[in-house]
């Protein structure tokens, strides 16, 4: 589970647009209607005789149930991959959770004071109408590089929220550490 600070709240969750998930999952719908055609072709092409002790319809229903269950669990694997690939914009930072397939996961975060710029790219008619595009957060950090979310939903809103949180963060008084000659450290707010 993702750990947030006690005084930290999620302001915005950023995911890829639903069209990305739908375009991945739509072939499962076509796959659901394949078996009747497949059986017809198979019975004519293969010289194998299939005999049953009981009802052939019951066998067909049984096999079709297993097929639908296979597609059903595949659908949820796609959905999980889509849903867990997310940015959490909090009051302090952006947390990038990158889900690559089901067994690969990378979590990184960037504080607002490290953000240099945000690029939003909406390309094409479909992307313009459905309001999705690529969002790139450029950072000053050498280790993090930049955060990129491709086909993110509502990219302009993301930029607005990140900039507004960035501004709030920079306006907030920061603690100043004063070190005395004796080496003791005091923190005070200006």
């Amino acid at each position: 589970m993702l750990q947030l600070d006690s005084d930290e709240q999620v302001v915005l969750e950023v995911r890829k647009h639903w069209i990305v998930f739908v375009s991945q999952a739509i072939f499962l719908c076509f796959a659901a209607i394949i078996p009747p055609f497949f059986l017809t072709v198979l019975s004519t092409l293969l010289p194998i005789q299939i005999t049953t002790e009981g009802s052939f319809v019951a066998v067909a229903v049984f096999l079709y149930c297993l097929w639908i269950l296979t597609l059903w669990i595949s659908f949820f694997f796609y959905w999980t991959d889509y849903y867990l690939d997310v940015w959490y914009v909090t009051e302090k930072r952006i947390i990038d959770v990158e889900q690559k397939g089901i067994f690969s996961r990378n979590v990184s975060s960037i504080r607002f004071d490290k953000i240099q710029d945000i690029n939003v790219e909406v390309r094409g008619v479909v992307a313009t109408f459905l309001n999705y595009g690529n969002v790139e957060v450029q950072t000053a950090s050498e280790t993090s590089g930049s955060f990129i979310m491709k086909n993110a939903s509502r990219p302009e809103l993301i930029r607005q929220v990140v900039f507004s949180q960035h501004n709030k963060q920079s306006e907030r008084p920061q603690p100043v550490h004063i070190v005395s000659q004796h080496g003791t450290e005091h923190a005070t707010k200006l």
């Binding site: 589970m1 993702l2 010289p47 194998i48 005789q49 299939i50 005999t51 049953t52 002790e53 009981g54 009802s55 019951a58 066998v59 229903v61 049984f62 149930c65 297993l66 639908i68 269950l69 059903w72 669990i73 949820f76 694997f77 959905w79 999980t80 849903y83 867990l84 959770v97 889900q99 089901i102 996961r105």
Partner: protein
């Protein structure tokens, strides 16, 4: 010389209730393992959101329905 162990000569497949139950059991075990993996991801990384709870209910509800239909089909076989 032809290796007799590598020759498959299948002309017919005979399906009986034992065969169907065995197929069902194998499928059920595989499905349970994969469901466990999904469940782990939802619990561990889903942040307890409403969407994840709804996904769990829909996934297990529909799965149960199709498993019951499969069992009914074998029973009526």
């Amino acid at each position: 010389m032809q290796n007799q162990f590598l020759v498959f000569n299948i002309n017919s497949i005979h399906i009986n209730a034992t065969f169907l139950w065995f197929a069902f059991l194998l499928f059920f075990v595989a499905y349970s393992v994969l469901s466990g993996i999904l469940q782990y991801h939802w619990t561990e990384y889903g942040m307890g959101t409403r969407a994840v709870h709804i996904a769990q209910i829909v996934f297990f509800g529909v799965s149960l329905f199709f498993f019951l239909m499969g069992i009914a089909a074998i029973s009526l076989f």
